[in-house]
Subunit: 408 residues, 2 copies
């Protein structure tokens, strides 16, 4: 019997009516003869409320206690969905992370799944029962509840699909798939039928919030076919698959963008060739995530300017850290800009196609959009631009790479 993991996000189980709708969908899939394991997120808004509660009790709280609070959201939704399934005559039960158990590292708040004991789940699936697994949570090495971080339920679902040898992992969410660009910005954006793991990884890290990046990484490593689709309709979604499964590769599959960026430029850093190490050492010590980096050597080669981006909500911490290390780094001045955005062109086809980058710069230049920094990977080119130009840039690139609906 084919096995399927179905994962439902917070908006899909936001209220009692939607929980029943999800149950109907699961029941219909079971009726088709599939063996189904379900993974659920907390009901929409619940996790945010729980997090706010822990913050108001103690701003600097014990991550282990935070996890005990945060994990209750999925505990509730899993049990409610099991009840809803039972009311449809489906044999179902809820499973918490510690009950399976899903063993994780002890990194509370961002734990990593290490081992999933599938014996009991296998037995239940074999007798036609539907396990409803609370996503986002696991059991740490010291017997305490851990959580996997934001979007962790996607990771739970993909991991479960991997260990159960599921044919596919369907991620139901409030969008109906992965688009060539954000449809709110580009009205002509098209839904992609298929996208490769590599492209999805880059999309996830470039601002397309459809899937958590760790779940895509996991899917890629274990070759789990993932489908992203809407829980509010019946249309097929976007399949995330191995490159080999995509016959006709697009040079560029999509344009992603992110506003959550801030730019910092450190001017007059001595020892030009070692400037990057001088600047990024203290930031690494402070656990600050540096993304794009551009380095400009001064004319004499003895000093350099270092430009880089950090998540916007880490800007203050970054400035504070650099100021504290000013003497050690020895820089002359520092400037920053929190009104920048990152725009990325993504596609596995660009590996074998020249001129993808130049088309990007040409399109941006034609609209008079200044590029402050650039970074590239094998399947992505990102540019840092003024935030005000974000929509214009996305639309221009969408057209420039022939992605508009009319163009296909």
């Amino acid at each position: 019997m084919a096995r399927l993991v179905m994962k439902f996000g917070g908006t899909s189980v936001a209220d009692v009516a939607r929980i029943h709708a999800v149950a109907e969908r699961v029941a219909a899939t079971v009726a088709q003869g599939q063996a189904v394991a379900v993974v659920v997120s907390a009901m929409a808004r619940v996790t945010n409320e729980l997090v706010a509660l822990t913050r108001s009790v103690a701003p600097l709280h014990d991550a282990r206690e935070y996890d005990a609070v945060a994990a209750t959201g999925e505990q509730v939704s899993a049990a409610l969905l099991a009840m809803a399934l039972q009311s449809l005559g489906i044999s179902a039960r809820s499973w918490l992370g510690w009950q399976i158990p899903i063993r994780t590292s002890g990194a509370h708040g961002s734990a990593r799944i290490q081992r999933i004991d599938t014996r009991e789940l296998e037995t239940r699936l074999a007798r036609g029962e539907v396990p409803v697994v609370a996503g986002f949570q696991g059991l740490g090495p010291r017997g305490r509840i851990t959580t996997l971080g934001r979007g962790g339920s996607d990771t739970t679902a993909v991991a479960l699909a991997a260990v159960l040898g599921a044919e596919r992992c369907d991620i139901y969410t409030d969008v109906d798939g992965v688009y060539t660009a954000d449809p709110r910005i580009v009205p002509g954006a098209r839904k992609l039928d298929k996208v490769t793991f590599e492209e999805m990884m880059e999309l996830a890290s470039s601002g397309a919030k459809v899937l958590q990046i760790r779940s895509v990484e996991l899917a890629m490593n274990y070759r789990v076919r993932v489908q992203v689709l809407s829980s509010f309709g019946d249309a097929p979604g976007t399949l995330i698959v191995d490159e080999g499964e995509i016959v006709e590769k697009q040079v560029v599959s999509g344009i992603a963008s992110s506003r959550e960026e801030a730019r910092i430029t450190v001017l007059g850093v001595p020892e030009g060739v070692r400037a990057a190490a001088r600047v990024f050492g203290p930031l690494a010590d402070a656990n600050i995530n540096v993304d794009m980096i551009a380095l400009t050597l001064g004319p004499d080669g003895r000093s350099a300017s270092v430009t880089f981006t950090v998540p916007r909500n880490e800007l203050a911490l970054t400035l504070h850290t650099l100021e504290g290390a000013r003497r050690a780094i020895g820089f002359e001045a520092m400037e920053h800009d929190a009104s920048v955005a990152k725009i990325s062109v993504i596609g596995v086809g660009m590996r074998s196609h020249a001129g993808v980058a130049s088309r990007m710069f040409k399109a941006l230049a034609q609209k008079g959009i200044a590029v402050a920094a650039v970074s590239t990977s094998e399947v992505k080119i990102s540019a840092l631009i003024p935030e005000a130009y974000l929509e214009l840039a996305v639309r221009s690139l969408h057209t420039a790479y022939g992605l508009d609906a009319a163009a296909t």
Copy 2:
């Protein structure tokens, strides 16, 4: 080092400010050199909301899934209180039922505690850590979360005090002790300094909702000294102790009352002497809790009238059950009254004092209050009266037994 179990009810941890106030109180007790274990209920209203949620998903829900939902309330409050304690520099951590574990029967929704593993708690207490235990929950025989039923956190606290050999179990609530009568009804009601386990049992089963009856039973069996006191003040509360600890015994300690009663009279039941068995057999099969019973044999002794009370919310089910068993029972008619109340006079001293009952009937008669049924135990006399007379009856009896504040 003296050990103390401190239990805080839902109103005591109703919001963030109150959780901090509870933490301050625990910290002050720790500062006095006591080893403290804390038990918490869910934040006020949370359990009701969770119960409503399960009902709206499936009115006839799986009790195991219900328990998984309901137990999250205490999971959250225990973790938040641990955080609040940590913020005061107290070493503390939350403990869920399954983590200790508190092993219970498999009767989901009303499980009974069977065994508590104290090893880990002992170790933590010895090193000065404060365990914050989620009340109301345990681990069932099949590895699932169980709950102990309404007010179950009191039971958790008393059980913990018993197994840890605590000197006392302090139950913090929104009232400052046990009163001679409900102060909202009798302005002159006095707080009792001490009350015996037996009296407290009768009070709990007669409408005084200070403590869950099972927790009192447990305290009596394991001789755990329990104190009921307010978390909103510093006054001493009421100590529930062994009879031997009370030197000057009152004949009557208090007057309790309950509106949650309904009366049913079944008329013309054949085989008068076996009438009770005929009527109560079907009710027992339907799990209906019958309380007061009065049986009147007809003049010929061949038929009887049976009057009894059931919880008001079980009236419809009771009538339905009796109607269904009408042919088997063979009764002639049935009448019921949902506007009745039970009033109880309680005191260990009545064992050795005559005339306690006659004083009750006299006082009620003087006010023209009709008594529909009577039941007695060693330390209690209860009378069923029209609900409209409840306050009048409580005040009259409070005066008749010399309990008014001025009278002491």
